[in-house]
Structure formats: structure tokens, C-alpha cells
Symmetry: D2
Subunit: 364 residues, 4 copies
């Protein structure tokens, strides 16, 4: 099945394994005329890159991107934009042992069950390096959205049960966890030190806010904007939960408290509250979109685990190698990228919704 | 945008408004040879139908289905199966007033923002009646899954903060809330009586379990089985949260507790626990799939609400008409249907994953 | 496989067999605000309907369409438009014999090979009645195109070797063959009388011209406008050849004669000739689109034919029943409809090609 | 619009311009376990490569392919196969002049009309080099088909009005025109010499035969196998006509002569003739598929042509540079590749057509 593409008009197709020659993405359907440089892409890849502090894997990955097509004299041409990052730091021997057994929490077993065998070096297609393509595509989507005043901000809302109670946007890139709350980040640091000492890993919750949203994006039935955001987020490997607006809290709410009253402000129809998280009936309502994704603890841990090998023997294992004790901070960048691609696609889709728009476009 | 289709191989296209002549669905891509009768469909529609007890809307909707194509001599032919339910109980005058204003929590405003106007009778395309098509398609998918030993069971896990602590499958259809716990259902009843008296509404959480799952369903990257389940659930109007397995609880977990150890049982590789909810790396692992969806309180409530009308005036409204004080019990049927369609599609997709399967199919 | 949908944004899904309860289509993605009445559809269906003269089948098919959704107060709402025609004149006994053997030139054998059995009444899904859905969808597309000044005209260019040398548009609907040349039509009539007497059937060529085309429709690579027109035409049952502009004649041409020189006319860039048929590099150039489709002789003929039955016995057959000795005139309406749907889809797709268009749409 | 992908399950996405860093393709949905080497791809690319004799452009293009993903230990893994060819011989100054005007028969004008500007170096995305990606993808499809006994053979059937009357398969790769008739090739050579002297170019017809076809491939309505082959062929830049089986000749035929009688042979149902070209009702019937594509003369010719420049001035031009006087021989390889990809996709699609196949796959 051709499951490596995402989006209908603004569409990305990712490829690559962590230990092959490279990782890449083809972005098709980006409108012509968008100024785009290698730096636009590299800047986002650098945010995703490991090895930035002691709470991410010590692997050094250069992740330098090349734009191979679709840009001419500094602008997108409307044709596919192919981007590629060479894999330069593969230490295959770290992974040779795992060929024979199934790591708990990983896709080793399901790959074998589905395909009959697997590329066991570095997780193959299920490696976190696959997200490089998403981040590169997301950088283009962000550039497009930004030209329309739409901005996307992701951050760690909760790590290991420690919640960012305050929101200070300037803090996000100031601590290793991308938390918008310095005090919470300090607590997380202590907690994480302990878990590293225990050879364990932790999970968390990423929140992402999209401001400057036009109303009208998304469709009433299956292509609801929140449905596509849900798919986008759940396509990220470690995500186990997704919510929009008040999310699971609505289960305990009443209609009288959960409904957002409409009111007038500066001649515009707005909502007094935003329990809905910016989407009503699957269509953006102009309020900020607020979404959250639950990220599971890194499955690769050094402490002893029980599993079976491919010969059907029960064994104990210790996973070696360099692994993030938490992937939440780096996953923030992927969440932003997936949100950007999803919204860019909905934005383009929405342009054909009304006859008057079609006539404005074609009739002189 | 053509947003009324769902699925790639097993694909449904729904149509219809609550106050038009009818509601329907076309199911394309169902394999030929599946025994199918009108009763298979009607049985599921009856479970979804309102007016079954005092906790659902008093509207009587017959919802009698017709199969118009794709079945010959009691079996599916492999060609599109068109199904239709006539709308017989439209009381349009109940809805005439809402043409002028935007109901909080509804899609009235976003429809106008997107399309320039809307069918204001009965919610138009955003009516809960749209789900009739989904349930009809889901009934076919369930028949297909059932022929392979796959069964889907949904129920209310939580309503208004009251949790079903016990699981007794036989209880589900014995109380108006589809709760698998009679004691919890009794508490919900009292709570709901109070909320009805307050002219208010409540939300809840639906849990759905899929047993008999083969491993190998779903794809490693964007077409992950959980990603498509997330989209499927979020395409249901009132859903604001979705999780699989331990869901949001993973945010507080550690790798050592969240990973599911593999072991051998009866010569098969199985997992000792199922924190993952039956999916690893986007691919089914053979364990039961466990998912939950958070359902918001019915937005139509009789108590006073603030909103604006289409002339930009702030007004107070009281929504009249017959509305469910809670939609969770009826939404259970829709959740099951969407799960069935999603899994049926993944099931067919997976058949081309390996060369040996292709060769087994074509070579004598 | 879900093969009953066509188009990406403007998308139709057809369903129905000739001898089931009805035939229909769901059109999704039509922009909101298009005035649409039942008569817009019925008018095109009437042109397709059999029984209009002695050169079409004597079957009387009322083919009265119902619009079941997607239109509110006379305008499309942007949601799916479901249309249906009841089958009222099924004479199943005419077809009972063919259940046992494979008619030459029909899909009986391939249906059995693919699905294991078939709906043998009236050709099932391969019946010409399937095109009712296409014509209904095409009527909507034509209404949309017409609002932009785009007009589609199809006609019989050649029947049984007799070519329409002259083009008089007013003649097309004046003779039973939809030929734009009265003299040619007279010759065809004589020829067809002879073939009917011989219990035989004839084929022909349909030409279709689209005027008022904007430039820019279609994509450079796989979604070329001509590629989608080719698929559209070849999806019509009897089509065995398709060409655009000079078509197969280019095989004998030289670059110096086949290239269309550009020149200026009234301040516009136009082409001096139109060998290309209105499409360059897959993208419309503003000239009229000219296409032709070759239609095979009706395979159902009364004269003796050799075939095999499902028990593997070689037999002689005489096909009974009421069949068109030529389907070209009725197929003209289907060719127009498929052209309309294809161009409507390309028209909507093209609206997102440029950043400035996106910014014009979203920025105040 | 995302128009650079082709296929539904077996799906390719091409990217690249002739004068950018490279050209490539991502093939998604290829079954796991197919043996694949770089040589499998290179062999087909070498057949497409220019500079092989004096009747193709003198440009030397190395076109050495790299496989960047999706193959592990010599076998496909089921994940995307990314392939790339670096552009090594760009002589951009050859093309600098054409930035200012619109070459007749090329897509220069339509690109500007659609996108507002264009990559004018070497034809950008409309360069024949785009077909490198198709040929690479086709090589994989051929490997897959070959493992099932399906073989594809393309050749020049007609060039400049000179028809290959005889078919000797061994001749095809023995002359510069890929004609299966040595005598015809000799005539073509003389004709082409003359046209080269006249600074002109010629067109032709490519025929392609697919043997070893299983029956059952393709769908009854829009996804007819011939409809997808038509789209596939018309997506090749220079194609202006397509036919299957008897093609346009059916317009002059009668039902009694055009129908293919069924008969028994070695216990199998076969057809006595193959006017249908191997497809009935859109579904393969087990006979060889026979298709033809009409290729226009190379639009780039050195003799004087009239056109306009981007300032709206009428000018005379002489196109410089290295151009094929005929592209038919090289296009043969592209036709084969597109046929292979189309059939591979239909082959995988067809595997889910019947319930018994689904049950055979999943039930022990």
C-alpha cells in the first residue's frame, strides 16, 4: 500500500530509512511564487536535530538539507519540491543484535508480521529519522501559512506528570524541554536526571496553538479539519492520544459550560471562550486552534526487558545504543510540521468552496 | 472539496441532509460474494435510531433502509452498494427560527463563513442524521470482518464523570446508556434526570474494543492504523478527544512500565500486557485494539444562551425542539461503524504487502 | 477496488445496475451557490434516453431524475448532490438466457473471471444505463462551466465510414445520429437500414469541442488535462480510441507543419492554428479543445455468433432483446458529460496554482 | 495541485527539472520481497538515454541511478523506493534565449499562463528528462510483472508514414528506431536523413503488447484497465492519440466482424480473435493487451518559426541546441514503463475483489 503520502493538494511523500544513504521528501502542490531558500528548511531541521543537549541522544546528525527541484531563482515553481538529507552517522553495529529479537514498544514484530522480514538497522522506516521529511515539508507549509499571517507554536505542556502552568513563549527555546514555563522545566530536569539514572524513559504532552486562522477551513463530514489534524498527529510514531480544545475534559462538562457563546468584537463575530479549540463542525471558526498530543515514553531503554526472539524463545534483553530518554522536545518540531502541512492543505482545498470565488478567479 | 468519502479500497460516500428527501451512502470496493441482506443493515440502524427511551430525542425516525444496488441473489457483487433511508419525520417549523442566528457549539457560523449560506433546516449536512450512512456502511464492514472472526464492541465508558468500573458485556444493551456496568448506569440515570431538569446536556467517553485482529494491518508512516482510526473517530461530529491503549496516561508513564513485553503462548508470539492498545508502529500486533473517544455535551440546550444573529446583533436564545440530552449511547453505534469501516479498509490494503501473497494469488 | 468515482475536487460516484431498483450518482465538491434545478439535469438525461427514434432501442425508459440532497432554495450548498433515477422498465426475462453463456464483445466473461459470478440481468454494472449517473453529473458540471462562458458541443463525426464533412451546429439535434451535416446523416440512414436488415450493428467517431476555455487548466505531468480527458473517454464502455487535436495524424506530420505558431490578436497571445487541440504540455492554452473518441459497434447483435457457456461448451447464440444498432448518437451525450466533469475538476484544481491567488483569496 | 503521482497502490511520484541538481522518483506500494538491484533499473535507463546514435540528440547524459531507500539485502522492503539520477550535463547557456519567448509546440506559454513564470532552462518540468523517473519506476513494475510471467514489448509501428509491416522481435533493438522490421527501418533512415537536412522533425506510432496477462485486472466503471492505460500514455508529453485493439478502425467495423468469438482451447476459455486488444468491459480477458500511442514530431526544430515573446511582440525564431529529430525510439521505453506501472497497480488492486480471496489470505 502506498502509505507514505499525506495531503490532497499540498501533498508530501516521505522516503528513507535511518541507515540507508539518505532520508527525504517530495512536496507536491505548493503554489508557485513562494520565496523559499535552503535556510528556511535547515532552520526547522536544526530544531529537530538530536545531540543538542544531554537530554537528547548523543548521536551527532548533521542533517544538512539539499533542495533538488521545484525552486527557481528563489521561488517555488508549482512543481514538486524534492528535498534530501544524507545519512552521515550510521553506526550499524549498534543495531546488529536487534536483528534477532523483537524490542518491546517498537515495530520490529509488526514489520516482520506484515512484510515477512525487516530492515533491522536503526529501526528502518520506523526510525525517528523518518520525521526529517515531515519537518522539511512542514517548513515549506509554514512559509506559506506565514505569508497569510498564520503562525504555529508548539511546546511541551507536560512531561512525566509535571505540567507547564505558565505560558511564556520566550521560554520555549530557552530550556532543553521546550517548556513555556521555566519553573516547570527545572522540575522536569531533576525528574529526568533520576529517570536516566534508573535507565528509564518518560513521556509527555505536547500542545500546539495556531493563530491567525481564517474561518472556513475544513469540510463538514470526513475531511473535517480536526479529523485531519488527528490523523496527522497519530501518524507520528509515539503519539497515543489527541485532543482539540477542551478534549477529554468535555466528557465531564455540560452543554451550558462547554458551548462557546458568540459575540461581536470590532465588528467581527467572535467567540467569548474557546472550549471548541477553534473548530466547529469540522470547519475552522477563526479562533486559535488548540490541540494536544500525548507522547509515550521512549521504548528503547537500557534496563532489562523481557521479549522473544525470532526463533520463538523468551529472552531478557538490554537495549544498547544512544537513545533519547524523552522525545517530547524534539517531537514538538514534528507536531508543528504536521499541523502546518494539514492546515496548508485545508487552506488550498477551501478555495473552491463557493461559486463566487470561482467566478472571481476566472472571469475578467 | 469532495470531503464526503472515507476509505481507499473499502470506501463509503455519504450524502443527505436531515430535512431533505433522504439520507444515504454508497459503499464501493466491498469484495464480491459477501452474503448481505437488508436486515444486516437495518439491525444496526435500529440501534442508532432515536426515540428508543426518554433519554434520547422524542423524534420518531423510522429509518428504514433500502439497498438499491450491488447485491444480487443475496450476495455482494463487487460493485457499489447504494443504500438509502427516506426522511419521513421532518418538522421544519421547529427549525425555522435558527435560520437567523448562530447556535453556540454548532456549525451554523462556520457553514456561513465557508459557503456563504447554509441549509438551516435541521442542521443540514451537520445533522446527526448524516451518521445513518456511516452506520449502514459500517454494517457491511462488520459483516465482512465477522466472516474473518473480527468483532467490534463499543460502549459508554464514562458519562458526566461517572465511570463504568465493571465490564459486563451483556449489560451494554440492557440500559439506555450502553454502559457495561449496571450500577454505573443507575447513577448516570439520576445524574441525567437532574441535568434534564436544568435544561442542560452532558458528555462522556466511548470505549471500543476490537477482538480477533490479525497482525499486519496498517502502514508504517501516514496510513498507520491508529492514524486512520483517529481520523475516523474525529470525523464524528461531537468527538473532541481520541486515544488508543493507555492514551493520555502514557504522558505520566515510564518506558519500563509502558512497554509491553513479548512472550510465547500456545506457540504464538503475544504480549503480556496491552498498553499499546493493539497497534505497534502503526501496524496491528494481533492483540485487541482498544480505543476511546471523548464526546462533548449536546450543544442544543433549552436554557438561555448568548449568541449573535446574521445581522451582527448580540441576542439571547432558547433552542426549542427535540434534542438528546446526551448523544453518547447513540454515538456508540457510530463509533463501532467507523471502526469497522477503517479496519475493513486496512484489511484489504494489507493483502498486497508481500510478493509471496501476490504470487500465491496469480500463479497456479 | 473502489472504482466508481471520478474526479478529485469535483468528484462523482456512480452506482446501480440496469435491472435493480435504480441508478444514481453522488456529486461531491461542487461549489456552493450554483443555481440548479431538476430540469437542468432532466434535459440532459432526455437527450441520452433511448426510444427516441427507430435507430435506438425500442425500450421506453422514463429516466426521471430526483435530486435528493445538496440543493437548498434552488442553489447548491457545497455538500454532496445525490441524484437518482428509478428503473421502471426492466423486462428481466429478456435476459434470463444469457446467464449461462458469455456474449462476445461484452463483459460477461471478465466479470465472472474477476468476481466469481455476475448480475446477468441486463448487463449489470456494465449496462449502458450506468451512464445515466455520468450524464446527471455532467449536467451539473456544464452548468458550472456555462457560468464561466465555457461550452461543450459533441456530435457524430463519422458513422460506419461516412464522415460529416460539413459542420452546421444547428443540424446536430435535427437528425437521429447527431451529425452536424444533413447530407451525411441521410447517407448514414440508408447504411444503417441495411445493417439493421442484416441484423448487424455499426460504430463511429464522436468529436467534441470545448470553447471559451481559460488557459492554465491541467498539470504538467500525470494530471495533464488531455490525460484526464483520455481516461474519462476510455471509461465509457464502447470507446476503443481517443485523440486530441490532430491525433493520430501527427504520426505522419513534421514539426514544421504540426507546431502551432503563436501570434497576437486583439492584444492577446493566440495560436494561428490548433493542431494541438487546445492543450500544450498537458495545460490548456486558451484555444478550443478538440477531441475525438472511436466507438465500437454495439456488441449485442441478433445474427448468429459463436461463444462458450459457463460449462465450457462451444455454442451458437442469437442475442434477443431490444438493442441499439448504433450507440454513437446516445454516446455523444455521455462524451459531453465526461468532458464537462473532467474540465470542471481541472478548473477547480487550477485555482491553487499560484501564491498570489491564495493571498488574494485570504488576505483582506 | 499535486499532479506528480501516478497509481493507487503501486504508486510513483516523480520530481525534477532537466537543469536542476537531479531527477528522481519515489515508488511506494511495491510488495516486500521482490529482488531488486541497481542494474535492474540502470538497464532500462540506458535504453532511454540519448546520444546512442546519430538520430538522437548528441547530448551525453550519464543517467546513472542510485537507489536511496526501500531495498534491504537485495530485496524490496515494502517501504518507499527512492531513486535518483544526477543531472551532469546541463549546458544552460543553450537555453538562455528561450526565456523570453514561447516556443511553438512547447509548454512555455501554458506554464507562464498557469504559474506566472517558469523555469526556462531546458524545459523545466516539461523536459523529456522527467521521464527518467517513469522509466526507473517502470523497471521495478516490470520486475514484479515478470515474476508473474507478464512481459511487455514496445516498438515503433510507424514513423513518418512508413509502417513496420513485419514483426521480428529480435530486430527491435537492432536498429536506431526500435522497429521490428529491418526493411521499414532502412526506409525510415533515408526519410529521416532528408528531414534532418531540412531542419525538420517527424512523428510516429508506438505499439505495445503485453503477454501473459491474467484475466480480471481493471474495474468495470471509471478504473477500467484501458482507461488507466489511456491516461498513462497521454501523460507522456508528446502523445496525441491512443487506441486499444482495433482502435479507430472500429468506427468502420460492424458488430459481426468486431466481436471476438469465445472458444475452448486446452480446457481454457479463449477468444478466436483479439479485436478488443485484451480488455472487455474495462477488465483484462487473458488475451494479450495491444495498445498504440501516436507521438507528435519533436517540437524543437532548427528551421524558422513564428512566435511571440513575453512582451507581446511577434518574432521569428530558430531553436538552437541538441534535439532529437524524432523521439519515437526513446519514447518506446517510456510507453513500456507506463504500461508496466499501470498493470502492476491493477494487478494489486484486483487481489481484493472476492471474499474467498480475502478469507484465503486471513483464515488459517
Amino acid at each position: 500500500m502506498s502509505g507514505s503520502s499525506f495531503g490532497t493538494i499540498f501533498r508530501m511523500t516521505t522516503w528513507g530509512e535511518s541507515h540507508g544513504p539518505g532520508i527525504g521528501v517530495v512536496v507536491d502542490g505548493c503554489p508557485a511564487g513562494l520565496p523559499l531558500t535552503k535556510e528556511d528548511i535547515q532552520q526547522q531541521l536544526n530544531r529537530r536535530r538530536p545531540g543538542q543537549n544531554r537530554f537528547t541522544t548523543a548521536r551527532q546528525e548533521g542533517d544538512e538539507v539539499e533542495i533538488l527541484s521545484g525552486v527557481f531563482e528563489g521561488k517555488t515553481t508549482g512543481t514538486p519540491i524534492s528535498m534530501e538529507v544524507h545519512n552521515t552517522n550510521q553506526r550499524s553495529k549498534d543495531y546488529s543484535e536487534i536483528a534477532s529479537y523483537y524490542r518491546p514498544g517498537h515495530a520490529d514484530y509488526t514489520f516482520d508480521a506484515k512484510y515477512g522480514f525487516r530492515d533491522y538497522t536503526g529501526g528502518g522506516r520506523s526510525s525517528a529519522r523518518e520525521t526529517i521529511g515531515r519537518v522539511a515539508a512542514g517548513a515549506i507549509a509554514m512559509k506559506l501559512l506565514s505569508s497569510l499571517g498564520i503562525e504555529i507554536t508548539g511546546y511541551a505542556k507536560e512531561i512525566g506528570g509535571i505540567i507547564a502552568e505558565n505560558f511564556d513563549k520566550t521560554q520555549i527555546e530557552q530550556n532543553p524541554f521546550r517548556m513555556p514555563d521555566a519553573a516547570a522545566a527545572t522540575k522536569v530536569e531533576a525528574y529526568l536526571q533520576q529517570k536516566i539514572a534508573e535507565q528509564d524513559s518518560v513521556g509527555g504532552i505536547i500542545e500546539c496553538v495556531v493563530t491567525g486562522m481564517p474561518s472556513g477551513l475544513g469540510d463538514p463530514v470526513f475531511e473535517k479539519l480536526d479529523a485531519n489534524l488527528a490523523k496527522a498527529m497519530f501518524s507520528i510514531g509515539a503519539v497515543k492520544g489527541f485532543e482539540i480544545g477542551d478534549g477529554f475534559a468535555v466528557a465531564k462538562a455540560c452543554g451550558s459550560t462547554n458551548n462557546d457563546a458568540f459575540c461581536m468584537k470590532d465588528g467581527q463575530i467572535v467567540k467569548k471562550t474557546n472550549h471548541a479549540g477553534g473548530i466547529l463542525g469540522g470547519i475552522s471558526d477563526g479562533s486559535p486552534i488548540i490541540l494536544r498530543a500525548a507522547i509515550k515514553p521512549t521504548p528503547s531503554i537500557a534496563s532489562t526487558q523481557q521479549t522473544v526472539n525470532r526463533f520463538g524463545e523468551e529472552i531478557d534483553i538490554h537495549i544498547k545504543g544512544r537513545h533519547d530518554p524523552i522525545i517530547v522536545p524534539r517531537a514538538v518540531v514534528v507536531v508543528e510540521a504536521m499541523a502546518a502541512v494539514t492546515i496548508a492543505d485545508a487552506l488550498l482545498m477551501n478555495m473552491t468552496s463557493r461559486l463566487d470565488s470561482v467566478q472571481n478567479f476566472y472571469l475578467p
